[in-house]
């Protein structure tokens, strides 16, 4: 790892070029840069961290095998996300459905451990209790319940910080479509999250349609 200092300063695209020329070290650097990022992105699509790690590894394996097809004139990151998204789509298709099997309503009816009950019991306002671990799972589930096209746009925009233009190029739609999908996603999330914490519901965004 004597060249780590130099590899670390290279751009993603330069690393790919160097990897295509035979440098395993360049590949390792790319994995270091993107492993957590892509795994967390995928986890937000598939709602399960272990599955996400598997798919993230598939993605890197594809990069490894496809190194010669990468065109360094284009962005590595866009190419990389595209591969990851295609793997996610394949995953959903294998599962025959992009939705988790248990809907949020059902799980709430199961009662006992629901966040709502916990909040009422502790007498805490929902926004005071945001660090609750259970809450994180519920947020993940709400995102997981979004239709794929809305979930992709929302996660790429909110968590990955991409612009509408970048997302449009990645998903093959116009920035205008991205904008309306993002807005729809936020509204859908609002109504899903409202069920998690009725106290925010009163002030939650109302649907327009």
């Amino acid at each position: 790892m004597k060249d780590t200092a130099t590899t670390a300063t290279l751009s993603d695209e330069a690393l790919m070029t160097s990897f295509a020329a035979g440098s395993e070290e360049a590949f390792e650097e790319l994995v270091q840069r993107y492993a957590a990022k892509i795994t967390n992105f995928i986890r937000r699509q598939v709602s399960d961290f272990a599955t996400a790690e598997e798919i993230a590894q598939d993605t890197f394996v594809a990069v490894y095998r496809k190194k010669h097809t990468f065109n360094p004139e284009y962005s590595f990151s866009a190419w990389f996300y595209k591969i990851a998204i295609n793997f996610c789509r394949m995953h959903f298709r294998r599962k025959k459905s992009s939705l988790p099997t248990v809907s949020m309503e059902e799980s709430q009816q199961e009662g006992g451990s629901s966040l709502q009950a916990a909040l009422v019991h502790k007498g805490l306002g929902p926004l005071d209790d945001l660090s609750h671990k259970d809450t994180e799972e519920k947020v993940q589930r709400a995102i997981g319940e979004l239709p794929t096209k809305h979930r992709l746009v929302f996660t790429l925009s909110f968590y990955e910080g991409m612009t509408y233009q970048e997302i449009g190029l990645l998903l093959g739609c116009s920035p205008g479509t991205v904008a309306s999908r993002k807005h729809t996603a936020v509204k859908k999330l609002a109504s899903k999250l409202r069920r998690l914490a009725p106290a925010t519901a009163a002030s939650g965004p109302r649907g327009e349609e």
Binding site: T69, N86, F87, P175, G204, P205
Partner: protein, 302 residues
């Protein structure tokens, strides 16, 4: 602008994605409309919740596993696929076999009359006739490759063996950089042509697995359609998936619309509007979504 229109823009406003004119309109409206301010605050509350989903660390052996799997994948696989796969080296052999099958079909009494377009100057003329309209965007090669595919589909069995082979040649020449995929897809086409849907499906699944860098989603759909014995629609999807394969490919909306005319009886007026709109946005996937919905007896909404 009224509240309703302003609210639709709020997400893009928060993301800093609005053009100056709209940005100012939203900003001025928010300054004087308390209800919209509340609405905006509620939207941002949703984002506060979403922000709770924090990143996690990957397993310590992540890199090691990736490298192990990558090396394993470099080795030729065996047993995954029960018939010879047209990889780069064997693709030409596969095509030759396909041509042989074609020839046998010919000898068995199937006739392939030359289509008049092709007898009057070959694929080049046919291509120029297929694209009489002004191209809508750059990317001649990509447009042509879809054109070739379209000709193959529209003229189908009317093409002579020779003309078909010529079209294949044109397609190879045009498919920059990734001939393997095009060859494999053509192999799949041959399976479909001879109604060997199981083989086609297996090959298509494999193509999708092996080429995750391409948007091959339409293929999976096509296989479903083929296996439910609706080859006409399947061909449609096959054609479209070439467009998806070449990601910068531009579909000429008018051509695309005409191409879809075969579905006219099944699609409502509203449906047609949707199709045309999607085609105009140059996104074949949207059209696929819609048609697939229709075929499944789904709802009218996209």
């Amino acid at each position: 602008m009224n509240c309703r229109r302003i609210r639709k823009l709020l997400t893009a406003y928060t993301d800093g994605e609005l053009a100056e004119e709209n940005r100012r309109a939203v900003s001025e409206h928010l300054a004087e409309c308390e209800r919209c301010r509340e609405y905006a605050a509620d939207l941002s509350k949703v984002l506060d919740w979403a922000a709770l989903l924090r990143d996690r660390q990957t397993s310590p052996n992540f890199l090691a596993r990736v490298k192990a799997r990558a090396r394993a994948a470099e080795k030729p696989t065996s047993g995954a696929f029960p018939f010879p796969v047209p990889r780069a080296r064997t693709a030409l052999a596969g095509l030759a076999a396909a041509c042989l099958v074609f020839l046998l079909g010919y000898l068995a009494g199937v006739t392939f009359p030359r289509h008049k377009y092709l007898s009057q100057g070959g694929p080049a003329t046919a291509l120029s006739r297929a694209f009489p309209d002004k191209p809508t965007a750059p990317g001649d090669a990509e447009r042509l490759i879809v054109g070739v595919q379209r000709i193959k589909m529209i003229f189908g069995s009317k093409l002579s063996e020779n003309a078909y082979a010529q079209l294949n040649e044109v397609q190879f020449a045009l498919a920059k950089g990734d001939k393997t995929v095009v060859q494999e897809l053509q192999q799949a086409e041959e399976f479909v042509r001879y109604k060997d849907f199981a083989q086609a499906r297996r090959l298509l699944d494999q193509i999708e697995r092996e080429h995750p860098e391409h948007a091959l989603a339409p293929y999976a759909r096509m296989t479903k359609i083929f296996t439910t014995e609706q080859p006409g629609y399947g061909w449609q999807l096959l054609n479209n998936s070439y467009a998806a394969l070449l990601r910068d490919t531009v579909i000429n909306p008018k051509q695309f619309y005409n191409q879809l005319a075969g579905f006219q009886t099944e699609v409502t007026e509203y449906g047609w509007q949707k199709i045309v709109q999607s085609a105009e946005r140059l996104n074949p996937l949207n059209v696929l979504d819609y048609l697939e919905d229709r075929l499944a007896g789904g709802t009218e909404t996209l």
